[in-house]
Symmetry: C2
Subunit: 321 residues, 2 copies
């Protein structure tokens, strides 16, 4: 995502969040815990969720950055925990060009490191005074783990509904971005009506973000993706472009035969078919979500600080990696 | 542990906690999540941690059972989450005579189910108003996951110190029991001085509990243990009786050669040696912890409701399974 323009505007905030993340993880009582967690931290990341917390908080003139920072760290640690566990399940050896924890230390250490990151995020949540923030975070965390289990269960299930897909990406991706925006609103003292709108905004953006990501898996080049196109399909993750492609019964028949053993040539051929028949329609759905996101922003007090959030929507709409 | 006398006294409370646990897990949005989590719940368990929460809360005349129940459920869900992940690491197929989640659904589902249980516990924590409770719970949760990683790292490391062992069991076992007692004190409105004493009490009891468990692994019969004696040693968990046994340099040499491949006969022979040379000394340490636990109870207001906590200490002191 071409979000560099945002970082220029808020590098200082993100740097402070990064520093706090490092402090949180360096302070681990056990050496191994620090090693593994810092290894992941140093692999970097776009820190998109902290960015949403900070940008949402900025809409309020009363924002206390200490609280904003704690919320950002809590959210990013939840995200990191889920990444570490996902890498175990996906048997992923690389993330952002760096060896994954599971690859370097094994599945068991990776599992416990995820637990540690999640526990650590609790410590930061504890610092947030607002009960509404706790309720929001605990809710999306339950949904996140539910979505992870569902994703496993739904693998290679080509008979599931689009609704099922949408619910899954809501849980896996959109709600944590929703909570990032909502939390930014809460900790900066915005009204319930406003932080709920920010939550909705984040939800719509998150849905668009994940759908766009799922489209990219088909339309991106291997160089852009860092992996061959069609990897989701090969792994049995049925995504929105695939649902549209399956409207053609002949294509559906071929897609339904995909297993882990399907040869790369067949996957590549299917990628071309899905590109033609499903990508555009999926992109349209992403755009529809982004329109709803803009609608939410339009319903908020029109302060100049809304601009970066509006820019994010525009950039996502043209996202091509 | 022969704690039946306690349950007779508080069956109603524990039944209500059990009902709430069932409600928490049945309400899972995804079918699989409910299936796996309820499977674990239905395997039963002694609910020792909820019992400590309830007994500690009873010391206060003002205890509101709703808050006590929420705290009990939050703690038990953390414990259940850690059990599910431990079963993955230990490659355990049975727990309390029932197939483990990892055995029935595989490691990946087990990992995410643990995450779900932990997230669910967050929802219950959120219901607890007191910030002190949140701080206590987040602290012990971080320590718990740290202890789990340490335990992995320390496997087959026969050169570690006793201090290392004590710190590990503190993290893995004692602190969650400490938090159970401390939380019972907090949610029932006891003074900070008193709930800190309850926390210390739980810590001492937890240390004694784990040491006794570690001794039992050597002195218990296969029938009592449900597995051959010496299983900890075979798995490379260096426990207190082993440290004492290693004071004999000849025995130390033999123990240091233990690996996963050590034949059952050699383990059985070592079990006999450790029984003779290390078990009694380890039991003495457990008794010393229990004395400290009694000291804590003696320093609390001497209400009749202290009696069951005192009984627990007496039962633990004679524990032979």
């Amino acid at each position: 995502m071409k979000l560099n323009f945002l970082y220029a505007n808020m590098q200082k905030d993100i740097d402070l969040v990064e520093k706090e993340l490092k402090k949180a993880l360096s302070g681990a009582a056990a050496e191994t815990t620090s090693d593994t967690a810092l290894h992941l931290l140093e692999a970097g990341g776009k820190r998109i969720r902290p960015m949403f917390v900070c940008l949402s908080a900025r809409l309020s003139p009363d924002a206390d950055f200490g609280a904003v920072k704690n919320a950002s760290v809590a959210i990013e640690l939840i995200h990191m925990a889920s990444i570490v566990h996902d890498d175990v399940v996906d048997d992923a050896d690389l993330r952002r060009g760096r060896e994954t924890i599971k690859s370097k230390w094994g599945n068991h250490i990776a599992m416990y490191t995820g637990d540690f990151l999640f526990a650590k995020s609790l410590e930061y949540m504890t610092e947030i005074k607002d009960v509404a923030a706790h309720k929001m975070l605990s809710h999306v965390t339950v949904e996140l783990s539910t979505g992870e289990i569902e994703q496993l269960k739904d693998k290679y299930n080509f008979d599931q509904s689009v609704r099922n897909y949408l619910r899954r990406i809501k849980r896996k991706t959109a709600l944590l971005i929703a909570a990032s925006c909502g939390l930014g609103g809460i900790v900066s003292g915005q009204s319930e009506a406003d932080y709920q709108k920010l939550y909705r905004f984040g939800y719509y953006v998150g849905m668009a973000f994940q759908i766009t990501d799922d489209v990219l898996d088909f339309v991106g080049s291997e160089k852009e993706l860092g992996k061959p196109a069609g990897e989701d399909l090969r792994q049995g993750n049925v995504t929105l472009p695939v649902f549209f492609a399956m409207e053609d019964p002949f294509l559906k028949k071929r897609i339904c035969q995909v297993t882990e053993e399907t040869p790369a040539e067949e996957i590549a051929a299917l990628v071309e078919e899905v590109k033609k028949s499903g990508a555009k329609k999926a992109e349209d759905i992403a755009t529809a979500y982004l329109k709803k996101a803009v609608g939410m922003l339009d319903s908020l007090p029109q302060v100049p600080e809304l601009k970066p959030l509006k820019q994010i929507v525009r950039v996502l709409d043209k996202r091509n990696y």
